[in-house]
Symmetry: C2
Subunit: 217 residues, 2 copies
């Protein structure tokens, strides 16, 4: 009886541990992070409904008269994830000329999302670049000042979702190139990119510009 009495508390503890672990597994399954891989070129599809709904979610949807199909595609999924931003959006983009993605980013800015953009100086004024429109809308933009390219192509939504890959945000890349993007919420991948963004953001602070070196003064 003595031995059985000693075993019982141990078994109760083991049962509690099992319950705890099972609960942990359940919670982990519920909070399953977004893990998505998208390949381009994307099938053509009308993204008007997505953008219009994001602009005024309370209005009745106005049907778009364009002849494009309405289905889900790589581009609409990218747009949907981007439009899910509620608090912040960090963009670090070599080239940004897609009008739809530009519209989405301006819309998020109007909705009160804190948007910050880093881009490559040599590409920001190219014909079709969205950067001028973003600045005009009051969005903070910084650019590199080095000869090498600022070649990243990533976005971070609400400091928890990373969108990264080979895709520059251009219509050409979306519709014609073979490209990939990963959409991920794993902290192990998101955190280093957040830190890289903050590092680059500080490094490209206009107060620290070195375009005019001492020799030129």
């Amino acid at each position: 009886m003595w031995a059985a009495g000693a075993r019982q508390p141990a078994l109760v503890l083991a049962a509690l541990a099992a319950l705890g672990l099972a609960l942990e597994v359940l919670v982990a399954r519920r909070r399953r992070p977004v893990r998505e891989v998208l390949f381009f070129p994307s099938k053509p599809s009308c993204t008007e409904a997505l953008l219009a709904e994001a602009a005024s979610p309370d209005d009745a949807p106005v049907p778009c008269p364009c002849p494009l199909p309405r289905g889900d595609c790589a581009f609409s999924r990218l747009l949907r994830h981007l439009l899910s931003a509620r608090r912040s959006l960090e963009l670090c983009l070599f080239a940004f000329s897609s009008p739809q993605l530009g519209r989405a980013v301006r819309l998020l800015h109007r909705r009160g999302v804190r948007v910050r953009v880093v881009t490559d100086a040599q590409y920001m004024a190219l014909k079709g670049s969205q950067i001028g429109l973003l600045r005009h809308a009051g969005i903070q933009v910084r650019h590199d000042q080095e000869s090498g390219y600022m070649h990243h192509k990533f976005a971070i939504v609400d400091r928890k979702m990373l969108i990264t890959g080979s895709l520059n945000w251009t219509t050409e890349a979306i519709q014609n190139n073979r490209e990939n993007i990963l959409i991920m919420e794993d902290a192990e991948y998101v955190q280093p990119f957040l830190e890289e963004f903050e590092r680059i953001w500080e490094f490209y602070d206009p107060l620290k510009y070195m375009f005019f070196s001492k020799e030129n003064k």
Copy 2:
């Protein structure tokens, strides 16, 4: 006594379940997949020792006379992961001109690793491209035949490790650009890229070339 007797088997089962779960957690921790984020430009470092060791692992290392530091850096980590290939290597690269990475890939081919390369047709014959050397070494290379770019920049090692990001495999990108690569063993990310590679590989089979359309015949 009856009540205690009935509870005991239940508690033993719970204890066994706890043990099982604990073991599962331990095994999962042991098999922890590679999850690494690398940023470029990479600090300069001598990669000679890595390449020489991979070429003839049984020989005594010959010290390299170059003045570059020997430390770990983003580029040496990329090279090390690449050289870990034992069975297969799939490469899907827009631009490939880095001599060290070219040497590493030819070395893996000589070691018996099955190497397959897909690249962009417009970039394969550019000055400094490694593609000609790979073909000369007997490595299978296929290329796109479309006007859009084959803009991927990914590698898959032994069908289980994915290396992907913004980095083209050029010295310029490695040493001067701001770039990122992810190195990952999560099956959820690796599997879609493996399938994309096989799709592209089949699509670019030379038997299916359409350079000479019916109208031109």
